[in-house]
């Protein structure tokens, strides 16, 4: 979707504010949001792409006004409702509705440590041939899907060179909509800064964007 989250290349969003000696969390509730999202993600009722897309669906004005953890929390609540973990009535009352089955077991401390140590790899062993090879010229496809895509607007229609092939990964554009993993190769594609931004960019500079086979066409 051509949402506010896809902000590469925009102007007017203000100065960068670097905070000295920044704490990991600024408020106690941010810690809880961070951990709750991971603990509930462990139920595997959604995936990282679904979760990212839900954040993209935060209305644009709210997205810019909210802090990172406010956005995450807002999207998390919606996701919990959509996936049937909680109902609006429960959220309102704060207590489980009678008759709602209590799921067991929740993510345990041991399993949390395992999740941290192992992560959730998104590479796949699927025998999928690469459509492109390093050094090849490609064009980023001009697509404007209303749903999730990891192909940012600023590269669409632009010419690039395959820098390296990272192997086969889950395809977020389908996975975010529960339409399957559609495993395919991911490449770092080098776009010359001048191709993206015009003659004012430094001639030797480049932007490397990770794109999937479905985002690219031969050029």
């Amino acid at each position: 979707m051509n949402g506010i989250h896809d902000m590469g290349g925009m102007h007017g969003l203000g100065p960068i504010h670097e905070e000295r000696n920044e704490p990991v969390f600024h408020h106690p509730w941010e810690r809880r949001v961070f951990a709750l999202r991971r603990a509930m993600g462990a139920w595997r009722r959604w995936n990282i792409d679904v979760s990212r897309h839900e954040v993209e669906l935060v209305p644009a004005a709210d997205y810019l006004r909210m802090s990172y953890y406010e956005r995450q929390f807002s999207a998390f609540v919606v996701l919990l409702e959509k996936r049937g973990f909680i109902t609006p009535a429960e959220l309102e009352s704060g207590t489980p509705v009678a008759g709602v089955p209590v799921a067991v077991p929740a993510l345990s401390p041991d399993k949390a440590a395992e999740l941290i140590a192992k992560g959730v790899p998104t590479s796949r062993d699927a025998p999928v041939a690469p459509r492109f090879r390093p050094g090849q010229r490609v064009r980023a496809r001009n697509i404007n899907p209303p749903g999730h895509t990891r192909e940012p607007r600023y590269v669409r229609g632009k010419l690039g060179i395959i820098d390296r092939d990272h192997g086969v990964f889950v395809f977020p554009d389908t996975n975010a909509h529960f339409l399957g993993e559609k495993p395919q190769h991911v490449y770092s594609v080098r776009f010359a800064a001048r191709e993206l931004w015009g003659a004012d960019a430094a001639p030797q500079d480049g932007v490397y964007v990770d794109l999937w086979d479905d985002h690219l066409e031969p050029a």
Partner: protein
Amino acid sequence: MTTTPDHDHEDGHQAVPSDPALRVKALESLLVAKGLVDRAALDVLIDTYEHKIGPRNGARVVARAWTDPAYKQFLLSNADAAIAELGYGGMQGEHMVVVENTATIHNLVVCTLCSCYPWPVLGLPPVWYKSAPYRSRAVIDPRGVLREFGLELADGVEVRVWDSTAELRYLVLPERPAGTQSMSEGELATLVTRDAMIGVARITASHGDHA
């Protein structure tokens, strides 16, 4: 770029009223009551990222690469295995790539679409990395962004911006500063800053990490 001298809980850089605190607390209580969440697991997650995983991990990787040429080649060609050799890996660092700064190449990492960041080696990202100003400008004006961080690049230097649009997570291997020949790997690690491993700073022999 603007900076604040130190963290102040009342600085209001994010206007957060008590409302989110109450709403989060209510949701947590509900999820616990439903048996969906074990608070002890939340504690493990919070403690790990607040106290155990941070840029010191990445600094160890960098210092090893500076002192061991074979390790450096291993790191640049197979970052996952090389980083795992020092005991790091896992969530949001399942697929790592390390890019090397040289006298003529400067690398900068961003995630324009969200906030992807290599947690196992850098911990959770700072607010500025997740903010709209950085995400929007790093790709279109990297030299201007670096200037705001106090880093002026010579015209001849090639800037490579890495936009983390997939599940690859990028770590910059900064240049080893001059005058550090006699330093041990452990001493070198103390020089390596988080910002240098994102690519918004260089490392000098005279200062340690403030971030």
